[in-house]
């Protein structure tokens, strides 16, 4: 495994993309930063700008308004970048499946690396999901 990837896995900066969520998943993401969960232990910090991001935490059904924006946000992030779909909405459009604003599931817009189901998922589940994808990349390389 090369040094570049090793460093990336040790310091993944997360960026939060909300694509029409009910805001509950977003609050659970913020929970991960609280003293109880403290993801800075793994070197993760919440990046303010998409240009600093290594992991995109995406929540919500991809609405008509958000689909092109999500795609653009993905394109703006410097590669390599990992995409995490958080919540039932992001995984499979959840309870808003038949909504008039729903478009396509998230993984048809951007390549999703890990799905974290739950409505909303617990902070433990989010942390477990992210660490799992890190493990997966570490093993596969």
């Amino acid at each position: 495994m090369n040094l570049k990837l090793k460093a990336l896995l040790k310091s993944p900066w997360v960026f939060h993309v909300a694509t029409g969520s009910c805001n509950n998943c977003d609050i659970e993401i913020i929970d991960c930063l609280t003293p109880r969960y403290d993801i800075e232990r793994f070197g993760m910090v919440l990046a303010g700008s998409i240009r600093h991001a290594d992991i995109l935490l995406c929540t919500g059904i991809v609405t008509k308004q958000c689909a092109p924006r999500l795609k653009r946000a993905y394109e703006q992030a410097p590669k390599p970048v990992i995409v995490v779909a958080i919540g039932a909405c992001a995984c499979s459009q959840g309870i808003f499946k038949d909504s008039y604003t729903a478009t396509v599931p998230m993984d048809q817009v951007v390549p999703v690396d890990v799905y974290i189901p739950g409505c909303p998922p617990k902070p433990e589940a989010i942390i477990a999901g992210v660490t799992k994808v890190i493990e997966k990349i570490r093993k596969s390389s």
Partner: protein, 308 residues
């Protein structure tokens, strides 16, 4: 050749970079502990820099490429130069040259100016807004900073060499032990906070409104350089103030422990101020610096002239 070695390895780039990254870890860990968290492991800042060097570098469309990419380098070079000058003099006061205080004061503003130029060059509205706030902040803190820096110069009857200041403090006690020195040091601590753009003066970077301000478009290696510059500033600026007010860091024998504890104390103070204060608006910061702090600095200058 030898000077290049001083600049690149000790006490220049390599030494300052390592110390700065360790200092930035201390700051992060202290922040985490103050917020009742565990915090990152000690090697985290090094890994961050390594990771950023490996990431893709994006130059935004329509940005001025040369300016955008060279602005961080200018900042890095100037902070390295400051560190080299200050440490060379601290290790050997006779190496000081006439006017090096003035050179250091000029060079200390260049990292902020580099950040500003980079922000304007990136053609991002948030970055321009951050850069203009940075400019206003520079205008506000430079006045009390210069006034406060004049105090030690008056005390040593007009020495504009850092070496002379050090030898004076060795003979006559620390500058900060006088009343005027104490007031000036108090002023300078707030300026330190603003120069490092930490809360309550992290106005240019306001990540909640401006998403990290001037550096919003930077990614990859240039971002690594900016982060490194910030870490090095966190090391260099307190050292400069220690040399000016607290008698420098002497390296003979057990004294080095005392020297290091001076630095750690100042760093902890900076970190605690950062963690216990909300962010000010830019007009409030201007009022604060040009109002109470400038008055205090003028009082310190007058007291110093009277010999207190």
């Amino acid at each position: 050749m030898k000077n290049l070695l001083y600049f690149l390895i000790f006490p220049g780039f390599l030494f300052t970079a390592i110390c700065g990254l360790v200092a930035s870890w201390v700051d992060r860990k202290l922040t985490a502990r103050l917020q009742w968290r565990v915090g990152p492991p000690w090697y985290q800042p090094f890994i961050d820099i390594l990771k950023l060097l490996g990431k893709e570098t994006i130059v935004p469309k329509g940005a001025s490429k040369l300016t955008f990419l060279s602005a961080p380098l200018v900042s890095l070079a100037s902070v390295t130069l400051v560190s080299t000058i200050v440490w060379m003099v601290d290790l050997n006061p006779s190496k000081s040259f006439v006017g090096d205080i003035i050179v250091v004061i000029y060079l200390l503003t260049i990292p902020s100016i580099g950040l500003m130029i980079g922000g304007f060059a990136s053609r991002n509205p948030l970055a321009s807004l951050g850069a203009s706030r940075e400019m206003k902040l520079i205008l506000s803190y430079e006045l009390p900073f210069l006034l406060a820096i004049i105090v030690p110069i008056i005390k040593t009857s007009g020495a504009i060499r850092i070496g002379e200041l050090l030898t004076y403090q060795l003979g006559n006690g620390l500058i900060v032990k006088n009343l005027s020195g104490m007031i000036a040091f108090f002023v300078v601590i707030f300026v330190l906070q603003a120069k490092l753009s930490l809360a309550p003066f992290d106005i240019p970077e306001a990540e909640t409104e401006l998403m990290s301000g001037p550096i919003v478009e930077y990614s990859g290696a240039p971002l690594a350089i900016i982060k490194l510059t910030k870490a090095m500033m966190l090391f260099t600026l307190p050292i400069f103030l220690i040399v000016m007010f607290l008698g420098g860091i002497s390296t003979d024998g057990i004294n080095i422990v005392w020297g290091i504890s001076k630095y750690i104390g100042l760093l902890a103070l900076v970190s605690i101020i950062k963690n216990t204060n909300p962010r000010l608006r830019v007009d409030q910061a201007l009022k604060f610096f040009w109002g109470p702090l400038t008055v205090l600095a003028i009082i310190a200058v007058v007291l110093a002239c009277m010999g207190l």
